[in-house]
């Protein structure tokens, strides 16, 4: 029986929006992801749709990312960012004219940015959500949701209403944007704890993904390893990540993106050009930042980098795609006789931003995997619903606590670098539940304040802040965001309780943190609609 390869991309960025400042460094995360990942991904999927290839790809778009893609201000700023890049690339073409090799690269970037500008402004008209929805209608994409602000659920469970709000608001926002319910949900960081399935089932999604350990440690032990989903006692299906697919891409030693021919992420013109020359394209203060023009390839374990060669890198990406698929063929050949009478399953989930942003050639790799994968004889590229439709009988088991973080539990999101967050998150969640219970009939201003308090709490719960604090990459910003949202929540809570509500403060906060306009704070007061185990 032909196997099922389920490729899953999880697209997520934390909500970063600073309308009060015209140029804010961390907003670049979104613009870079649009330019380097989302636009190439859309282009690639549209080509595949045009060619009517029989492939299915699962894409989760987190609600915070959706909210930013919906935001007019951010999309306008993204357009301006692309304009500046095109301008800089044009200057680079002139600047490098005496060096043919470098000049060829400058032309490469100029062409690439002009093409992306055409896609963003003319083809999509700054609306990237509609084409994703169209690809879903074409049958290429299976779109799923994630939790409202990417809260790491195993650590929010001390207040179950907080977990429910993350799930239900995530599902609700997806429905508002796409007009239909998501078939599945991406649990932030693959974080799962026993009993969570009851809330997921009540929120509606039929499946979710866990780290392989979540399946392997299930009770009773899985019959088919990670090569079949498990039904939880409430009937939601859990799909386990295949370790070998992860290893081939992520391994620091043997992973594809570490190939010497690929573009080096860190050698960026923003760091290397003359300061007067680059000044209009970096931070308003003149401080440098990456601008997206990178002339060097990884080369090897040396500081002396060689010039990037796009064509050679492209060839290598195509070759890596073949290697990946050959490996899957061998994997399915091994699995087929072992899992007789069933379709063997391999689930390969990745962060979407890997492809293009971190691994520049990733979209080429991905397109080749989808195109070549559609022609392989012993497996098909499918999405979880396809598998569940065709294979409705699966083992019932209770899954264990797991995440895809280092160590497999909650250690990445709870450690001495970030544990100060959790007493605040816990207490604020308790206060939110109390507010929602105590204000059943608010006046208009109170309702706005209560809704905004809920938004601030949700934003403070984002797993991204704890993650960044742990990695130490941008701890100042992560700490600032956590503190600001908790502080805003507490102010609003006090104003609701003791009055008066500061309308100016409320307006400013609403203006800045404007996600989920449909949010109703009463979700925190609702009795938990947990589904009961029936299997």
């Amino acid at each position: 029986m032909r196997g099922c390869l389920a490729l899953v991309l999880h697209a997520h960025l934390p909500f970063v929006r600073h309308p009060d400042q015209p140029d804010f460094l961390e907003e670049d995360w979104l613009y870079e992801a649009i330019l380097e990942t989302y636009l190439p991904l859309l282009g690639m999927l549209e080509r595949i749709a045009q060619d009517r290839l029989p492939v299915r790809l699962t894409l989760s778009i987190s609600p915070t990312l959706l909210a930013m893609l919906e935001d007019e201000l951010l999309m306008k700023r993204c357009g301006a960012r692309i304009d500046r890049l095109c301008e800089l690339a044009g200057k680079e073409v002139h600047r490098t004219v005496s060096d043919p090799q470098l000049n060829r690269l400058a032309h490469f970037y100029q062409h690439s940015f002009e093409h992306l500008r055409g896609e963003f402004e003319d083809h999509y008209r700054r609306d990237l959500i509609r084409p994703f929805a169209a690809l879903r209608r074409e049958g290429i994409l299976e779109l799923i949701t994630s939790c409202a602000t990417h809260g790491f659920l195993p650590l929010l469970r001390t207040v179950p209403s907080a977990v429910w709000a993350q799930l239900a608001i995530g599902v609700g926002h997806f429905e508002k944007v796409f007009g239909h319910s998501p078939s599945g949900i991406w649990l932030p960081e693959c974080g799962y704890y026993p009993g969570l399935d009851g809330l997921i089932a009540a929120a509606g999604p039929r499946f979710f993904f866990v780290e392989a350990d979540g399946i392997l440690d299930a009770s009773p032990a899985p019959l088919y390893d990670v090569h079949a989903p498990l039904y939880t006692p409430t009937g939601v299906a859990a799909f386990g990540r295949d370790p070998s697919c992860s290893q081939e891409v992520w391994s620091a030693i043997s992973g594809f993106p570490a190939d010497p021919l690929y573009r080096d992420f860190y050698r960026d013109l923003g760091w290397e050009a003359e300061s007067d020359y680059i000044r209009p394209y970096v931070q308003p203060t003149g401080e440098r930042k990456a601008v997206g023009i990178k002339y060097f390839r990884i080369t090897g374990a040396t500081d002396s980098k060689e010039l990037y060669q796009p064509e050679a890198a492209r060839e290598r990406a195509l070759s890596h795609a073949r290697e990946f698929l050959d490996s899957r063929e061998r994997q399915f050949s091994a699995l087929e006789p072992a899992i007789e009478g069933r379709r063997p399953l391999v689930v390969a989930p990745y962060d979407a931003e890997l492809f293009g942003h971190w691994w520049y050639e990733g979209p080429i790799f991905l397109e080749a995997v989808l195109r070549d994968g559609s022609r392989r004889s012993n497996f098909e590229l499918q999405a979880p619903p396809d598998f569940l439709r065709e294979n409705p009988e699966n083992q019932v088991a209770e899954l264990s606590l797991s995440s895809w973080g280092e160590g497999g539990y909650a250690g990445v999101w709870l450690n001495p670098a970030n544990d100060w967050i959790y007493p605040h998150l816990h207490r604020c969640a308790e206060l939110m539940v109390a507010l929602a219970t105590d204000f059943p009939r608010p006046d208009d201003l109170q309702r706005r304040a209560l809704n905004q308090a809920a938004r601030e709490l949700l934003l403070a719960q984002a797993s991204d802040w704890a993650f960044i604090l742990k990695t130490g990459s941008m701890p100042e910003y992560a700490e600032r965001r956590t503190r600001e949202h908790i502080d805003s929540f507490l102010k609003l809570e006090q104003q609701c309780r003791k009055g008066p509500i500061d309308a100016d403060f409320l307006f400013r906060t609403e203006h800045r943190d404007n996600l989920f306009p449909e949010l109703d704070y009463k979700i925190y007061a609702a009795q938990l609609p947990e589904a009961l185990p029936v299997l």
Binding site: P14, V396, W404, L414
Partner: protein, 332 residues
């Protein structure tokens, strides 16, 4: 170190002595009582993760859970835009001035290792991004909610935090002689761990605990008596401890989950229990073919084997006792 309440009760000279002992260099700059207390509190906060186990009244009877080995699993995910980010103009990369000249790699950002993956290690010389941000607001040190909360971080490790007003503690400690605060971890009625803590410490990790700890309590313990202040149930840890049979259920995709209880009640959901023999046979086959026990899998380039039968290369027992990260409760 003394807890906050004791600090408040101390004289300045006693506090100076503590500061000399615990703060070391620079303690003489602390002039007032408030400054001394604040600095000592900070010291306590800094060492919060190092809760010193007190005398264990009843050692855990279960073997401490085996901690999961760190390697070789990938560290989560790719560094995405939300994580590592090079930014801001810290020093090191000189300008590439000459028109048309390729950027010199003479002083590149120092990448410790090679490749995309390790590129996540932002070169330290250039890495600290600095947005033009104002100072983050200060948050309350506590909320006076008078509660203890405990949650498992991983096998055998509880993260406990507490938040009490001083009045609550003083009231609980009334009549106690030479008292101190302790956290007690219970499994059923049995105390499996007792740890001395400071009120201002606020949180602690308790390690090497059984995975079925039921609750954590904060007590004021004096030489003459002890008094319970508050307790918290520990949410279930890693997996259900209910023994469960191996079952296969047939769920039609078109049946919404909210209709499942009704469907199941009517008998329309087929659930079957495979025979022990068939389970054994499947597990034996899958153990040889599945890749979760080896990142390369048996189909890997160095291909130990391709196909069916569990071989010597597989660490999985032929009957498929799939590897577990932690010991199962004995009831299973």
């Amino acid at each position: 170190m003394a807890n906050l309440l004791n600090l408040v009760k101390m004289t300045v000279s006693e506090l100076r002595e503590l500061a000399r002992k615990y703060l070391g260099r620079g303690h003489s700059r602390l002039k007032t009582k408030n400054e001394l207390i604040a600095a000592l509190k900070q010291k306590v906060s800094d060492s919060r993760a190092k809760a010193v186990p007190a005398k264990t009244k009843s050692p855990p009877k279960t073997k401490p859970m085996r901690k999961k080995e760190a390697a070789p699993r990938r560290s989560k995910r790719a560094p995405t835009a939300r994580a590592a980010r090079v930014s801001s103009g810290s020093p090191p990369v000189p300008d590439i001035g000459a028109l048309g000249a390729p950027p010199k790699a003479s002083t590149p950002p120092k990448v410790l290792n090679e490749g995309f993956f390790v590129g996540a290690q932002v070169p330290t010389a250039i890495a600290r991004p600095r947005s033009p941000i104002h100072l983050a607001p200060a948050l309350p040190e506590g909320y006076g909610s008078d509660e203890v909360v405990a949650i498992y971080r991983g096998p055998g490790t509880l993260f406990v935090f507490w938040d009490f007003g001083e009045e609550t503690i003083l009231a609980a400690a009334q009549g106690l002689v030479d008292w101190r605060l302790v956290l007690r971890v219970y499994r059923g009625a049995e105390i499996v761990r007792e740890v001395a803590v400071e009120l201002v410490q606020g949180r602690a990790y308790l390690e090497d605990l059984p995975n079925d700890s039921a609750r954590v309590e904060l007590h004021a313990v004096g030489t003459n008596a002890s008094r319970r202040i508050a307790g918290s149930n520990v949410p279930p840890s890693f997996q259900s401890d209910k023994p469960s049979l191996l079952r296969l259920a047939d769920l039609a995709w078109d049946t919404p989950l909210h209709a499942l209880p009704r469907t199941a009640k009517s008998g329309a959901v087929r659930v079957r229990e495979p025979t022990a023999e068939s389970v054994q046979a499947i597990r034996a086959r899958v153990a040889g073919a599945a890749g979760s026990s080896s990142p390369l899998g048996p189909w890997g380039e160095h291909g130990a084997q391709v196909g069916g039968v569990a071989g010597a290369a597989s660490p999985v027992a032929p009957w498929g006792a799939v590897r577990r990260r932690f010991a199962l409760p004995s009831s299973r």
